[in-house]
Amino acid sequence: MGAYIVRRLLLMLVTLVGMSILIFVMLRLVPGNITDIIFDSAGFVNPAQKAKIERQLGLDQPIVVQYVNWIGGLMKGDLGYAYVSEKPAIDEILPRIPVTAKLAALALIFSVLFGVPLGVLSAVRQNTALDYVLRVISLSGLSLPSFWLGLLILMGFVHFLGWIPIYRSDTGSMWEELVLLSIPAAAVGFRSSALVMRLTRSSMLEVLRQDYIRTARAKGASEGSINYDHALRNAVLPVVTIIGIEAAFLIGGLIVTETVFNIPGVARFLVEAIRWRDYPIVQNLVMFIAIIVVLVNFLVDLMYVALDPRIKYED
C-alpha cells in the first residue's frame, strides 16, 4: 500500500507537469492577447504602445522562457501579477476561493443527501408510482440547463419571495451566508443529485438481484438491513466514483450559477480572466483546479479500500 501511494503521488506530479504545459500552451493558442484587450476598451490599437506593454508584461520573451518564469515563480509561491488589475495574482485569487469552496461543498452535500437515499428508494420501489416520479425528477435534473434553472430559482426567490438578495454590501454571519448560498448550491447540486440518484438506482437494482441478497432475505433479515447494510454497501462503489468525478466537474456548473446569482467566486472569475486573456490568473487557477481534481481522484481510489475489503492495492 505504501509503495502504491508513492507511485500514485509520482504519477500525480507527472500529470500536473503535463497539465501545466498544456494550460500554458493552449492559453497562448487562443486568438488575441491581453494587449489587444487592454486597447479594446479604448476603441483603437496603437502598435508602438502595444509593443511597450508587451515588453512590460514579458510577453515579448520566447514562450519557453515565459513558462520557466511562471513555474519558477510558482515553486517560490509567487503567482505573478494579474495583467488587468495590475495587483498580485494571489491577492485576486485567494479572497474568491472560500466563496466557491463553500458553494461547491454545499452543492456536493445536496447531491449526496438527495441523490443516494432517493436512488435507493427508487430501486427498492422499482416500477411503482414513486419510482416513476423519482425517475422523472432525475431526468429533469439531467436535462434542465443550469442557467435556466438558476434564472427560474432567482425569479422565485428574489422577485416573488424576496428571500435572497442579489445585492449585498456585507457578507453577514457565516450561518447567514450558508443559508444564502444554499439556494444557488441547490441549483448546481440538482444536476449532480440526479446523476447520483440514477446511478444509485441502477447499482442497487443490480445488487438486489444477487444471490447473497436472496440468502439474507431467506435468513429473515429486515428490509432495512437488506437494503442499507447488504445492498447499498456493495452498490456504493460506482456511486463514490461518480461523486468524485462530479466534485471535479462541479466547477463547470458553478461558472453558470455564480454568473446567474452574481456570486463573486473563483469560477466566474476564471471565465472573466479567460475572456481578458489574463494569463497569470488563468494558468494559476486552472492549475489549482487540476490539483484539486487529481487529489480528489486519488482520495476516491483510497476510499475504495475502506469501502470494499476485497480491494487491495499491491505493493
Binding site: P31, G32, D36, I37, I38, F39, D40, S41, A42, G43, F44, V45, N46, Q49, K52, I53, A82, V84, S85, E86, K87, E92, L151, L154, M155, V158, H159, G162, P165, I166, Y167, S169, T259, V260, F261, N262, P264, R268, F269, E272, R275, W276, R277
Partner: protein, 530 residues
C-alpha cells in the same frame, strides 16, 4: 415628429426636476447602482467607455464641466469647475484659466496649476510617465503647450484658433489628474479632487466610493457613499432593480424592448429614454477586394433601409442621421429634409435598391450569383442584431452576407489590423461638437478612425469648420462635410440609438443628458428622499 414630441417631454421632465431644488435635500444614505460589466480600469483618460467614466467621474473635477442640472451639452451650459473663470486672448489662440484656490486632492496635497500642466502634458505625450493608451489624443492635436503663471493660472496655447476647444474640457472624459500620482496608480487607486473618494475596486464584484468631507463645494455631495455592484447577466441585474435592490440602473442599460418590462414590473420607477450619441454604422474595408471598388460600396449603401432598421430594433425610436446627432437633441445634425438630400438617404428605398442592383449586375453579380461576404461584428447583442438586419438588406442588391461573430475582446484589434471586409460597428461620441466627432472618426491622422478613411479635402473642411467663429457658417461647413462623407461612404451611419436609464422615485437631483452619455455622472447633486 414623434421624436420631437418625446424630446420636448423629456426636456420638460428635466426642467421640472431642475425646478424642484426648493425641496430641502436630505443628506446621507448610500446610492446603490449596478454596473453592467467588468470595468477595464479606473483611469478615465485611458479608456473610451462609459463603463469607466460613469463610476469614476465623481472622483474628479474638470477645469470646466457641462452643467449637471441641464439636459443639453452646449457652449452655453458650460460652468466653472476647478477653473473659476476663463478667457481667450485677442488672437483666439490662448485660453487662460484662473484656478480655484484652496482645493485639495483626496490625499491632502494642494491642487495647483502644475497639475493642469501635467495632465495635458500626459495627454500630448510630453510627460515621461505618459498614458499607457491615449484614445482622445486627437482632441488635443491643436494644443501647442500649457504654461503656468503661479499656482492658480494656466494658459493653453493653441496652434490656431479653435472656438469649440472649451467643449472638450467640459466632458466627463476630461478630468484633471494629480501630478504626484503615477499613471499606473491612477488605473487602480485613483486620486481626485471630486465629491467622492475612491474606496475599493473588487474586480468583477464591486466598486465603492465615499463622500469627500473636504469637498470644495460646501454642502455637497449629498449621499454618504456610492456602491456599484457588477452584474454582468442582464436578466439578473434588471430583476434586482425591479426588486428594489438598486437605486439606479447603469446609464442607458435599459433598451427599448426592456423598458416595457421595467415600467410594468416597477411602475413607480422613473425611466427616461434619451439619445445616446452612439451610432450603429457600416464599416467597409476599402483595401479588401472587391470592396476597394467604390461601385460595390455604393451599391451597399443603396441597400440600406434605415427606417426598417429602427422599426425592428427600437420600435422606430432610434434616430436616422448622418455623422452628427440630429436635432432636436443634437446641435449640429441635419433635419430630416436636409438629410434626405444625402446620397443613400432617399425616402424611396426601392428606387435606391434598384439602382444598387443595377450597379452589381454591371459588375457581373445577380440573384443567382450573389457576391459572398462575411459581415464581421462584435459578439454582443447590440452589435449582432443590426448586423443580422444588414445581411438581410444586402441580399436586395445581390450581396450574400454571412455573419462573422468576433470575440468581443479582440474586436477593435481585428478592425484596426484590417482583418475584415465588411463590418457592423458601434461608435459613441463624447461631446456633441463637430471637432470631437469629425476629427476623431473621419480625419486622416486619427487613431480612432477605424476604417482609415482619408480624404484630404474632408480634412481641410474639418479644419475650416474648426476655426469658424460664426456658428451658422460653421454649421454650413459641417453639413458640407456630411455630404462628402455620405458620397465617400465613410462609415455610413445607420442610426443613432436611444436607450433608457431608470431610477427609483426617491432618487432626486439627477438629470439625464440628452446629447451625450459621457458627461453627467458627477452625482454631487443626487440625494435620496427616503
Amino acid at each position: 415628429m414623434r421624436s420631437k414630441l418625446a424630446f420636448a417631454v423629456a426636456l420638460s421632465v428635466a426642467a421640472t426636476t431642475v425646478a424642484l431644488p426648493a425641496l430641502a435635500q436630505k443628506q446621507g444614505g448610500t446610492l446603490r447602482i449596478y454596473h453592467r460589466d467588468n470595468l477595464p480600469s479606473a483611469s478615465i483618460h485611458e479608456e473610451a467607455t462609459i463603463s469607466t467614466v460613469q463610476p469614476f467621474m465623481g472622483v474628479f473635477n474638470n477645469l470646466v464641466v457641462f452643467d449637471q442640472q441641464k439636459p443639453l451639452n452646449t457652449m452655453e451650459t458650460i460652468v466653472p469647475d476647478l477653473a473659476e473663470s476663463w478667457a481667450w486672448d485677442s488672437t483666439n489662440t490662448k485660453l487662460t484659466f484662473k484656478l480655484r484656490q484652496g482645493v485639495k486632492w483626496h490625499d491632502g496635497k494642494p491642487f495647483t496649476a502644475k497639475d493642469v500642466q501635467c495632465t495635458w502634458n500626459k495627454l500630448t505625450g510630453k510627460d515621461p510617465d505618459d498614458f499607457r493608451k491615449n484614445p482622445r489624443a486627437i482632441w488635443w492635436q491643436n494644443l501647442k503647450e500649457v504654461t503656468v503663471n503661479g499656482d492658480h493660472e494656466a494658459t493653453f496655447v493653441l496652434n490656431r484658433p479653435q472656438p469649440s476647444f472649451l467643449m472638450m474640457f467640459a466632458s466627463g472624459y476630461t478630468p484633471v489628474y494629480p501630478c504626484h500620482v503615477s499613471t499606473k496608480d491612477m488605473r487602480t487607486n485613483p486620486i481626485g479632487t471630486g465629491p467622492f473618494k475612491f474606496v475599493e475596486f473588487k474586480r468583477g464584484d464591486s466598486v465603492k466610493f465615499a463622500r469627500n468631507p473636504d469637498y470644495w463645494k460646501k454642502g455637497k455631495p449629498h449621499v454618504d457613499a456610492i456602491e456599484w455592484k457588477v452584474i454582468e447577466n442582464r436578466s439578473t441585474r434588471i430583476l434586482a432593480f425591479v426588486a428594489g435592490e438598486f437605486d439606479m440602473t447603469f446609464g442607458t442599460d435599459v433598451t427599448i424592448p426592456l423598458l416595457k418590462d421595467v415600467t410594468s414590473q416597477a411602475p413607480k420607477a422613473v425611466c427616461e429614454l434619451a439619445p445616446t450619441y452612439v451610432s450603429s454604422n457600416l464599416i467597409i474595408n476599402p483595401k479588401a477586394p472587391p470592396f476597394s471598388d467604390p461601385k460595390v460600396r455604393r451599391a451597399m449603401a443603396l441597400a440600406i433601409d434605415r427606417k426598417a432598421f429602427i422599426e425592428i430594433l427600437s420600435n422606430g425610436r432610434d434616430d436616422i442621421s448622418g455623422a452628427m446627432l440630429p436635432p432636436p437633441a443634437g446641435v449640429w445634425g441635419m433635419p430630416p429634409e436636409e438629410l434626405q438630400k444625402l446620397p443613400g438617404y432617399s425616402a424611396d428605398v426601392e428606387k435606391s435598391r434598384a439602382e444598387g442592383r443595377k450597379i452589381m449586375e454591371g459588375l457581373g453579380y445577380s440573384e443567382a450569383k450573389p457576391l459572398p461576404v462575411k459581415v464581421a461584428t462584435r459578439n454582443i447583442a447590440v452589435y449582432r442584431d443590426p448586423a443580422v438586419i444588414l445581411i438581410d438588406q444586402l441580399k436586395k442588391v445581390h450581396i450574400a452576407g454571412e455573419l462573422d461573430v468576433v470575440d468581443t475582446s479582440i474586436w477593435h484589434a481585428k478592425v484596426t489590423r484590417g482583418e475584415y471586409a465588411v463590418g457592423l460597428n458601434l461608435t459613441g461620441v463624447g461631446v456633441d461638437d463637430p471637432d470631437v466627432n469629425l476629427y476623431e472618426n473621419y480625419s486622416c491622422n486619427s487613431e480612432r478612425n477605424l476604417t482609415k478613411y482619408c480624404n484630404k479635402d474632408v480634412d481641410a473642411l474639418i479644419d475650416k469648420q474648426s476655426q469658424e467663429l460664426d456658428v451658422g457658417k460653421r454649421k454650413k461647413v459641417v453639413w458640407e462635410i456630411e455630404h462628402k462623407l455620405a458620397e465617400d461612404l465613410a462609415r455610413p451611419i445607420i442610426a443613432y440609438q436611444r436607450a433608457a436609464t431608470c431610477w427609483q422615485p426617491y432618487v432626486k437631483g439627477f438629470v439625464l443628458h440628452q446629447n451625450s452619455i459621457y458627461n453627467n455622472w458627477r452625482y454631487e447633486d443626487v440625494w435620496l428622499d427616503k
